[in-house]
């Protein structure tokens, strides 16, 4: 079992070195190595899920610096998640990195990035966790700024700064834990965490939410996400968005749920509220976004919110002693984590091949690509259907479970939980509907209709490895959607160790049966029914309508000569109603300026601009930074260049010391 771990590590390191060696030459070999490494880790994860916690290895040089790697079911689950995405991403990268500038370094960084993520979820003590965590952050920073342009440098700066602020909180909470438990390793901390004073627990909880939430991208700490993910190469963005932010979720689970254990009810309620806000705001910004990768990044924010809804509900239920239900809620959270990893990975990969072949991220310049890139279009469609949580794809099942647990949350005692839960459900419904709107745009505008620019007309289908990479994930979307029972059974040990009870997921023969709410769901049955009805429908049509006659004409153009691409609805127009209706949220900056030849009769031209500046930067972050900068400018006056002043400092220091210190 441990051998798989070592094998995987060796393979990844080999991949890293290999990609450095054949730097510019074909480095498919390196990616094959990494993908096999991912397979090894996947097996390792599965084995971990079905075994008691194992200590993998521990190297100790000095008391302050000892590396301890331990694996339990929780880390097993996350290893599985990471490996799934990694596998297809590495296959995709074989084709994606062809003809890319210094791709060797890219491959190297990618391998290190993945290793560091594995290290985070496996690390067994504070220092190991911190080092792996920061390695992950730094490597991903370098991946974000990979094309050394001004713009991505800015994105990278925002990312690096925010993630470091997060780390500050993480360090603080770890040291507080250490101070009160006297242990540096998580096992010891967990053992001793039982008798922490409540105030300390609360502080740790808040710090964990801020620290790990920054990485996970909860509102309002998400602002780095829509900057950094688009800036990175697409295979990387699919790793970052699909997996790395989940590591933040892992941190929250590890500290809050696993170590702190069952807390007061308001913790869970707080997380539910955070999740609701995050999901709604995330998808709202996604809907009005024109840059396809930024759109997907905002969608990740939304899904993090949904995951948090599940986790928070489970915490509330646990603190009310309803462990079975809390386990189901946790299942919802974890399952959505897995699902989001899969379909967001898929979406970013297919968006990557869109950008790769059209050389633009702007939706307005695409169009009609379904004819030029049929397979990519198909995979993107599957991804969209899954992320919209439409039936018999994977997103649907986890969101359904989330709904169920939110409803069962009503059995909690306190009124806040009772209110929070259904409103969280409403938020979930709202964001679900918005997701549908968002992805109607995200699929419809680039793929359907007529090409809107030469970028779109010049596009061509991406190479085989890229398609294979996407196909794997697309298939997973379907499988995870149709056979939820089996998948959940696979990782239910993680759920039971998080929920603290022995727990079997109630499903059999492809049917999920939640006895408490007496609700059933069977995607398999739905699928079968649909196929049956399809056949019936075909027959019916044949009977009623007889043989079909079809003919092809131009679209209905109200009688004008012919339609031009500019007559189509643009992405902006498609979502303009949202901008109008939710003005209070978006605070859009609209200005129409019209130039007259002779006011007010003869109009020369009207120019209209409409943009959205995220409110958080404007109202939350800029004031803080301005404040700090103003202080530092004031302090700067100390060094005015006059030597007399400096001598004066010496004199004053001495006099002060003599007066007050002696």
């Amino acid at each position: 079992m441990i051998s798989f771990f070592y094998l995987g590590i060796i393979l990844f390191l080999a991949g890293a070195i290999a990609s450095l060696i054949f730097n510019q030459r074909a480095n498919g070999f390196a990616y094959i190595l990494t993908s096999t490494g991912a397979v090894c880790f996947a097996i390792f994860g599965v084995l971990l899920l079905s075994s008691p916690p194992v200590s993998i290895l521990s190297i100790s040089t000095t008391p302050i610096l000892e590396f301890v790697f331990r694996g339990d079911t929780i880390s097993g689950f996350f290893i599985l998640v990471i490996s799934v995405v990694t596998f297809s991403v590495s296959i995709y990268s074989i084709g994606y990195t062809k003809g890319m500038a210094n791709k060797g370094i890219l491959g190297f960084l990618l391998s290190i990035f993945i290793i560091s993520m594995y290290a985070v979820v496996l690390s067994g003590n504070i220092i190991t966790f911190l080092i792996s965590w920061e390695t992950m952050s730094i490597v991903s920073y370098f991946l974000v700024v990979f094309d050394t342009q001004e713009k991505s440098a800015k994105a990278g700066f925002i990312y690096g700064l925010m993630t470091h602020v997060g780390v500050v909180f993480i360090i603080a909470l770890f040291l507080i834990l250490y101070k009160h438990t006297g242990h540096m390793d998580f096992a010891g901390i967990k053992a001793a965490a039982g008798n922490l004073p409540d105030a300390v627990k609360t502080i740790i909880f808040i710090f964990a939410i801020i620290g790990f939430g920054t990485k996970a991208g909860i509102v309002p700490l998400h602002t780095w996400l829509p900057e950094a993910h688009p800036a990175a190469p697409s295979n990387i963005s699919s790793l970052m968005s699909g997996v790395m932010i989940k590591v933040g979720i892992y941190g929250i689970l590890r500290i809050v749920v696993d170590i702190l254990g069952v807390g007061p009810e308001w913790w869970g309620t707080a997380i539910i509220i955070i999740g609701a806000v995050t999901s709604v705001l995330g998808i709202m910004y996604a809907t009005v976004e024109r840059d396809i990768k930024r759109l997907l990044a905002y969608c990740s924010v939304e899904n993090i919110g949904i995951i948090l809804l599940g986790i928070g509900t489970s915490m509330v239920l646990a603190s009310n002693g309803l462990y079975k239900l809390s386990a189901i809620a946790m299942t919802a959270g974890l399952y959505h984590t897995l699902n989001h990893a899969v379909y967001k990975g898929l979406l970013f990969l297919s968006a990557g091949s869109l950008v790769h072949s059209t050389h633009t991220k702007n939706l307005e310049e695409m169009g009609g690509l379904i004819k030029l890139m049929p397979y990519t279009a198909f995979f993107f469609l599957i991804g969209s259907v899954s992320i919209c949580a439409l039936p018999f794809f994977n997103g649907f099942v986890s969101e359904w479970l989330t709904y169920q647990s939110l409803l069962s949350n009503f059995q909690a005692m306190s009124a806040t939980a009772k209110v929070a839960a259904p409103l969280g459900g409403a938020a979930l419904a709202f964001s679900g509907a918005l997701a549908v709107a968002c992805f109607v745009k995200a699929f419809g505008i680039p793929f359907l209709g007529l090409p809107r620019s030469h970028h779109a007309t010049g596009a061509k289908e991406s190479s085989l490895p890229m398609l294979v990479g996407m196909a794997i994930l697309a298939l997973l979307c379907l499988v995870l959607g149709i056979f939820p029972g089996h998948t959940i059974k696979l990782f239910s040990p993680a759920v039971s160790s998080l929920a603290g009870i022995e727990y079997v997921f109630p499903s059999g023969k492809g049917v999920i049966h939640l006895s408490k709410t007496a609700a059933d769901l069977s995607p398999l049955a739905i699928l079968v029914a649909m196929i049956a009805i399809f056949m019936a429908a075909v027959v019916l049509i044949r009977i009623i309508g007889g043989k079909s006659k079809t003919s092809y004409r131009d679209s209905w153009d109200c009688g004008i000569s012919s339609l031009t691409p500019r007559m189509q609805y643009t992405a902006t127009a498609h979502t303009n109603p949202f901008r109008r209706i939710f003005e209070k949220v978006y605070l859009p900056i609209r200005n129409v300026n019209s130039i007259y030849i002779l006011k007010p009769l003869f109009l020369k031209s009207i120019s209209y601009t409409n943009e959205i500046v995220p409110s958080f930067d404007k109202y939350l972050y800029n004031p803080i930074t301005d404040f700090i900068y103003s202080i530092s400018r004031k302090v700067k006056l100390l060094q005015s260049g006059s030597i007399h002043l400096y001598l004066g400092y010496i004199l004053i220091t001495l006099l002060l010391l003599l007066l007050f210190w002696f």
Partner: protein
């Protein structure tokens, strides 16, 4: 001989003289006058060392006394005068603070020193408040450096500080091991020489007569 010294508090008078010469700088504005004041100050210092030597017969103290006289009382003033002559039409250097104000401030400094050193320390030296005086002299030297604009004023202030330190050294402990004294004096000479070098360079670079410190403010932030 020793008894009348104790009788007439010679030590105290001499050390007070050192303090006064230091303070007097505040009211002087001509560099030549400063150098004279410093010269007197150094003579008093060497005189004090001489008395210490008389009080307890240690030969290296005589050596130190003469050494101080030679270096601080003769050599350095001469060297400084020569530098001053190098840069012509030097005489007056304006200060940042008016005479009265700087006198007041130096008074405050002395007060602070007396107050804060009053507690705790017991002095076995023969002049009960010689430590306070020496610290005061040092701080006043620093104060001079702060308020005067020309480079040479800063050198002078530094030299005053050195004198204060020596005062402390000899009066508290009847002198250091002689090797230390030698080293310190040697260091002092070196500093002054190198400062002279730089002062000449400043004059060249900044083309100012008295090496005006206000021009040395290019490096800030």
């Amino acid at each position: 001989m020793k008894d009348w010294m104790d009788l007439l508090y010679v030590m105290d008078f001499v050390s007070i003289g050192i303090l006064i010469t230091a303070i007097s700088i505040n009211s002087l504005s001509q560099i030549e006058a400063w150098i004279k004041a410093y010269m007197i100050n150094s003579w008093l210092l060497s005189l004090l060392i001489f008395f210490v030597a008389v009080k307890n017969p240690e030969h290296h103290l005589y050596v130190a006394s003469t050494l101080t006289f030679a270096s601080k009382g003769v050599l350095l003033p001469f060297f400084l005068k020569s530098i001053v002559r190098q840069m012509k039409k030097v005489q007056v250097v304006e200060t940042y603070l008016s005479t009265s104000l700087s006198l007041i401030i130096s008074g405050i400094i002395i007060a602070i020193v007396y107050v804060s050193l009053g507690k705790g320390i017991f002095v076995t030296g023969f002049s009960s408040f010689v430590l306070k005086i020496s610290v005061a002299v040092i701080l006043i030297g620093l104060f001079i450096m702060i308020t005067r604009r020309s480079a040479i004023a800063q050198i002078l202030g530094l030299l005053f500080m050195e004198n204060g330190v020596f005062l402390a050294g000899f009066s508290l402990t009847f002198g250091m091991p002689s090797i230390v004294e030698l080293g310190v004096v040697f260091d002092l000479l070196m500093i002054v020489i190198i400062m002279g070098v730089f002062m000449v360079q400043i004059k060249q670079k900044f083309s100012s007569d008295v090496a005006d410190m206000d021009q040395l403010t290019n490096l800030k932030g």
